[in-house]
Amino acid sequence: MPQKVFAPWDDPQEKPLIQFKNVTKRFGSFTAIDNLNLDIFEREFFALLGPSGCGKTTLMRMLAGFETPTEGTIQLSGKDIGGVPPNQRAVNMMFQSYALFPHLSVWENIAFGLKREGKDKGAIETRVSEMMRLTRLEKFRNRKPHQLSGGQRQRVALARSLAKAPKLLLLDEPLGALDRKLREETQFELMDIQEKTGTTFVIVTHDQEEAMTVASRVAVMDEGKLVQVATPDRIYEGPNSVYVADFIGDVNIIEGRAHQTGDKVQVIWSESEPPLMATTQKNFSLDQKCYMAIRPEKVGISADRPTAANALKGKILDIAYLGNISTYHVELPSGHVIKAQEANTRRIARRHFTWEDEVWISWTDTAAVLLEQ
């Protein structure tokens, strides 16, 4: 039986859970969100990614109901939720600071929202226990927040926001306060819980690795606008702009002029060097300014001239040894510095290259992406 790929955004029949329609939000003269359209589907794990001040938090707070759009509408399951106050929305939020009530125990924190609904005691007890099992908090039932570690607090915050079984869960930098190792573990835990509960998650983060790991789709934001919305691999392999390419992962950008024939493009980038070759689906006019984006791991490094479509000679300027991989900074005669990555399959003592070595760097004509802006 073939596994059906989860991709509701490609299915025109699918009704989105959330729809932003021409939403603009201004604070005084400052425009935080600028005429934004976005669909988020049920069961999605949707990541809003961008630098601080790009409007991602404002977008999330509008979903939670703490801000109302200046213009446009936000729909949840087809209904406009513009005027619904936060305490009446089927949307819950996990706060960046966790916002755990310091005077209440773990149990009371998780039960807080359920008690507001006026559920009977038995139902609350069942649901809270279920949540504590899900987040592995059974042992900490009677502890107060200050008696918990960072990771445990994070789990209480998650359990509390999930307890009311919201249609949509908002997570504001949920892992920002955790150290690296714990963060990585927790990312998988989050994905696991999202899958188990089937809740739609919208996560705000400035950490691109986190967004790539957890999300089904990533939206890259800049200055109140969505720059690109796509699955993690599409964002990485096919960025639509230098901004996205640069924001997600490491990249070499070479600026030049395009000479297109069919799907092949020659990029004139230097007076003294031969043009670089790339393939593209886009159409560039003659001598149009273009940017060639090439990921360091797709750039090979060798002592002899290789046969690849693009090969350039240079000198090693710097080596960043990261254990599993090394990044070589190679300076070309034109002054450009290109980063090339090699996996360290051998022990360090037997490394090929060292500083000041003359080397060749190379990549195929399909490895690079040509961008217009």
Binding site: N87, M93, Q96, F101, E117, R160, K164
Partner: protein, 296 residues
């Protein structure tokens, strides 16, 4: 050597002018009344050596404390002090909380000004602030004039020289002590806690009762003790605003000392007052420690 001097100077000063005087009070409280000056016996005669100390010790007794329990006046004064301090502390809390809350909710650029407005009365003379109410509360005072003019009453209210005036005086003069710790607690409150409560289904009002109010409790407790402790031993307010029927222990002590010149009884009154104060002071200390711990 320098360290020794550094410790010794303030240490000896406090020993000489705080601890020793206090021990003297304790000793006199256990001595007998004598009309000679100083009007108490026994006198410690160190020149008589060991025998002197023994004589001195033998002559001490609890007679003055027995006297305190036998005379209605004293325990009534303690009880009435307690009652006045408790009621006025509660009233100060009722008046102070909304002000502290308003300050904590005020726009950021307003807060330093509001803070200054609360602290300013603290720097002005206590005596003058109490005095300022005398002209307002007296029978032909401004409050009565105003009420008569509006027609709310047709007979002037007798407020000055009653316990009501004492309550007003305590609330008025100690209000900053109540506002400041509550404001400090409310200001520290993380705004995202209230958003979280709303997100989980609370209305504004229930978010206040379930989150803001319990989290400002330590501030309220601190404020209450800061008002209660000095109010219990208060002298100026009952003697200016209270009447002859207003019994407060600070006033009794003053009169025992200056009018009756009965030093041993005055000292015994002081010792008992201190014993009563130990309980709230210890509770206050514990509240502060717990608060510091919670902040860590």
């Amino acid at each position: 050597m320098r360290r020794l001097i550094l410790i010794a100077v303030p240490y000896l000063w406090l020993l000489a002018f705080f601890l020793v005087p206090f021990l003297i009070v304790l000793k006199i409280a256990l001595s007998d009344y004598n009309l000679s000056i100083p009007p108490y016996t026994p006198q410690l005669d160190l020149s008589a050596g060991w025998q002197g100390i023994k004589d001195f010790y033998d002559a001490l007794d609890f007679e003055n404390f027995t006297f305190l329990t036998s005379d209605d006046l004293y325990w009534k004064a303690y009880l009435s002090s307690l009652k006045i301090a408790v009621i006025s502390t509660f009233m100060t809390l009722l008046v102070g909380y909304p002000i502290a809350y308003g300050m904590a909710q005020a726009p950021d650029e307003w807060r330093p000004t509001l803070m200054m407005l609360v602290i300013l009365p603290f720097w002005t003379s206590f005596l003058i602030r109490v005095y300022s109410w005398m002209g307002i509360l007296s029978n032909e005072g401004l409050l009565n004039k105003f009420l008569l003019w509006t027609g709310v009453i047709d007979q002037p209210l007798i407020i000055l020289s009653t316990n009501t005036a004492v309550y007003i005086g305590i609330v008025y003069t100690y209000l900053p002590f109540m506002i400041l710790p509550i404001y400090a607690a409310l200001e520290k409150l993380d705004g995202s806690l209230l958003e979280a409560a709303e997100d989980l289904g609370c209305s504004r009002l229930s978010a206040f009762w379930l989150v803001t109010f319990p989290l400002s409790r330590s501030g309220m407790v601190a404020g209450c003790f800061l008002v209660f402790i000095p109010a219990l031993g208060e002298f100026v307010i009952p003697s200016l605003l209270g009447g002859s029927s207003t019994l407060m222990i600070g006033k009794v002590l003053w009169e025992e000392f200056f009018s009756n010149r009965d030093w041993p009884v005055a000292s015994a009154v002081a010792v008992v007052l201190l014993l009563i104060l130990v309980i709230p002071i210890v509770l206050f200390q514990r509240n502060q420690e717990r608060q510091q711990e919670a902040e860590r």
